[in-house]
Amino acid sequence: MRTYLIRRLLTFIPSMLVVYTLVFVMIHATPGNPWDTGDKPFPPQVLRNLEAKYHFNDPVWKQYVDYLGSIVTEFDFGPSYKRGITANEVIARFLPVSIQLGLTAFVIAFIAGIILGTVSAIAHNTWLDRLAMFGAVVGISTPTYVVITILIVTLAVQLRLVPTGGWGGILDRRIIIPALALALGPTASIARYARSSLLDILRLDYIRTARGKGLRERVIHVRHALPNAMIPVVTVAAVSLADLITGSFFVESIYQIPGIGRYFVSTVQDKDYPVLMAVTLMYAAVIWLTNFVVDVLYATLDPRIRLS
C-alpha cells in the first residue's frame, strides 16, 4: 500500500511534464505572435522591444528550459501579455470564484443525484423510476449553454425571481441559476450510477438475508444496501467535482461570473500564453489529484480492493 502510494505520487511529475510539453509545442507551432493586431500593426521597434522583453528571441530550447525552471523553482508562470497582472494573479483572483460556484453545484448534484437514484432503484420499473430516468437522460443530453439560457429565460426574464447575470458570492441569490445549470448534468449521471449500482446490490444474497431476518425495507435500503452501492458512485462524483471546480466557460461567460472558466477560451484567442499555461497545468493537476484520491478512496471504502 505504502509503496503503491509513493509510486503513484511520483507519476505526478511525468504527467505534468507531458502536459507542459504539449502546451509549449502547441504555443510555438501556432503562427503569429501575441501582438498581431491585424490592420494596425505596432511599429517594428515596439514589436522588437516587446519580443525582447518577453524573451521571444531566445532559442526555443532555452525558452522551454527557462520557463519550466521558473515554474518549478519559483512557481512563477510569468506576466499576462494582455491583462496587466501576472498569470499567478489571474489564477488567485478567479479560481476561488469558480471553486465556490463549483462546490455549490456539486453539493446540489450529489444530494439530488443520490436521492433520485435511490428512489428510482427502490421504485424499480414503476412510472416514478421511468420518469426519473427520463429526466436523467434529458439532463445528460442537454448542453449547459442550453440549460442556462432556458433557466435565464424562465426564472429571470419571465418570472423575474433572480437577476439575469452577475456574481455576489455563495450567499447571493444570483448563484441560483448558474449553480442549477452546472448541477443538472452531474445530478443526472450520479443518479444513473446510483440507481444501477443499487439495483446490483439489491440482488445480492446478504440483502436477502436481511429480508429473511425480518428487517424493515427502509433499514435494508438505507443501512445495508446504500453504503455498498456508494462505492462506484464516488468515482463519477469525483470526476464531476474536478470538472465543476475548474469552472465552466459557458456558464461563466453567459451569466457574467468572474471565474477561471472564461479564460479557457479567451487566453487561446488572445494568445495570452502564460495564462494559458497556468490554467492548463492547474486543470491537469486537479484531474490528476482527483484520480489519485478516487483510487485511494476506493481502497478505503472497499477493503476487498488491494492497491498494488
Binding site: 511525468p14 504527467s15 507531458v18 502536459v19 504539449l22 502546451v23 502547441m26 507551432a29 501556432t30 503562427p31 503569429g32 420499473n125 437522460v137 434529458v138 445528460i140 443530453s141 442537454t142 448542453p143 449553454y145 442550453v146 439560457t149 432556458i150 435565464i152 429565460v153 426574464v157 440482488r203 470538472d243 475548474t246 466557460f249 459557458f250 453567459i254 479557457f264 477560451v265 487561446v268 484567442q269 494568445k271 494559458l276 490554467v279 492548463t280 486543470y283 491537469a284 484531474i287 490528476w288
Partner: protein, 332 residues
C-alpha cells in the same frame, strides 16, 4: 441488425460431429441463434431505443436530402423579412438576418451528422489499431501509447479543442504556403469542417484505445488464443480471427456514446465561433446567434436547442440499449 448474418457462427449443435436426428429437427425448426442475432433481437425489443433510432434515421434521411428538401438557401436572407415568426412561407420563421430557420436547421443537422459520423469512423480506425497494438505487443510500445493517452486525458477536451482549432486556423490561413495549400483549400471547400474533424478525432480516440487495450489484455491470455497460437497461428491471424471479434462489443458501445459526444463538441465549438465557418450553419452556431435576442425572440433559441437536445437524447437512449443488448447477463 435484424438482417440475416452473412457469416453465422456455428452453434454448439452443428459443431460436435454427428448430430442425432432430434438435434437436426431442432436445428431446422429455428434458424441458429447467433450472438449478433440475439443482440439484434434484444435491441429491437427495446421500444425507447427504437423510437430514438427512428428519429436518428429520419435525421439521416433529411440530412442526405437537404439540398433538395430545404425550401430556401441557408445563407441568403433579406432584412425586409428579418425576425418573422413562423408563417406559411417560412414554416419556422426567420432569423435576425432574414434567413429561413427551417432551411438553416436542415443544413445544420447535415453538418452535425457528417462531422459526428465522419470523425467517429476515423476514431474507430485509429483507436482500435493503436489499442490492439498496445494490448497485444505490450512492453515499451504499450507504455508509450498509454502514457500519451493518460496525458491527453488530463486535458479538458474543450481546451484541447480551442488550442488545436486556433493552431489549425493559423496554419490553414496561409493559403499560399505550398505545403498546406491543398489542405487549406479542402478546409475552405468544406466550410471549416476539416479543423473540426481533426479536433474531434484528437479528443475522442482515447476512450476507444483504452477500451480496446483492456479487452485485448484480458482476451489474449485465454485458452482459445493460446490454443490457436500453439497450432501455429501468426500474430496477424491471432489478432484478426481470435481477438478482434471480442473487441467489437466495447467499440460498439463507445461508438454509440461517441457520436452524441462529437455532435455536442461540434455544437460547443460552433457556439464559441471556432467551429464551422459562417455562413455555413450548425445547431451550436444557431444557438449562439440566437442568444442576444433571447428575451425578445426566444423561439430562435428554442428550435436549435430542442433539436440538439432531442438528437443527443435519441443517441443516448440508443447507446444505453446497445450496451444492455450486448451484455446478456444484464437484467433490466
Amino acid at each position: 441488425m435484424t438482417a440475416r448474418d452473412p457469416h453465422p457462427v456455428p452453434t454448439a449443435g452443428s459443431r460436435h460431429g454427428a448430430a442425432r436426428p432430434s438435434d437436426l429437427a431442432l436445428l431446422h425448426a429455428s434458424p441458429p441463434r447467433t450472438y449478433l442475432r440475439e443482440v439484434g433481437d434484444r435491441l429491437v425489443r427495446n421500444r425507447t431505443a427504437m423510437v430514438g433510432l427512428a428519429f436518428i434515421l429520419a435525421l439521416v434521411i433529411l440530412g442526405i436530402s437537404t439540398p433538395w428538401v430545404a425550401p430556401f438557401d441557408y445563407a441568403k436572407g433579406s432584412l425586409l423579412t428579418a425576425n418573422r415568426p413562423p408563417n406559411a412561407v417560412n414554416w419556422l420563421g426567420t432569423d435576425a438576418l432574414g434567413r429561413d430557420t427551417l432551411s438553416r436547421l436542415l443544413w445544420g443537422g447535415r453538418v452535425s451528422l457528417t462531422v459526428a459520423i465522419g470523425a467517429q469512423v476515423i476514431v474507430v480506425l485509429i483507436g482500435v489499431t493503436l489499442g490492439l497494438i498496445s494490448g497485444f505487443v505490450g512492453g515499451w510500445t504499450d507504455y508509450l501509447i498509454m502514457r500519451t493517452v493518460d496525458a491527453l486525458y488530463s486535458l479538458p477536451s474543450l481546451l484541447v479543442a480551442v488550442v488545436v482549432m486556433s493552431f489549425l486556423r493559423g496554419v490553414l490561413a496561409q493559403a499560399n504556403e505550398p505545403s498546406v495549400a491543398g489542405l487549406s483549400r479542402l478546409n475552405i471547400a468544406t466550410g471549416g469542417l476539416l479543423g473540426v474533424f481533426i479536433v474531434l478525432f484528437l479528443t475522442h480516440w482515447l476512450t476507444v484505445c483504452r477500451l480496446v487495450r483492456a479487452q485485448v489484455i484480458t482476451v489474449k491470455e485465454r485458452e482459445f488464443v493460446l490454443g490457436a497460437r500453439s497450432l501455429g497461428a501468426g500474430s496477424f491471424r491471432l489478432v484478426r480471427v481470435h481477438i478482434l471479434p471480442h473487441v467489437l462489443a466495447p467499440v460498439l458501445v463507445a461508438l454509440s456514446f461517441g457520436i452524441p459526444g462529437s455532435i455536442g463538441l461540434e455544437a460547443s465549438l460552433s457556439f464559441l465561433g471556432i467551429g464551422v465557418t459562417p455562413p455555413m450553419p450548425s445547431w451550436g452556431m444557431m444557438i449562439s446567434e440566437a442568444l442576444p435576442a433571447m428575451r425578445t425572440y426566444p423561439l430562435l433559441l428554442v428550435f436549435p436547442g430542442v433539436l440538439l437536445s432531442v438528437t443527443l437524447l435519441s443517441f443516448t437512449y440508443l447507446g444505453d440499449a446497445v450496451r444492455d443488448a450486448l451484455d446478456p447477463l444484464m437484467k433490466r
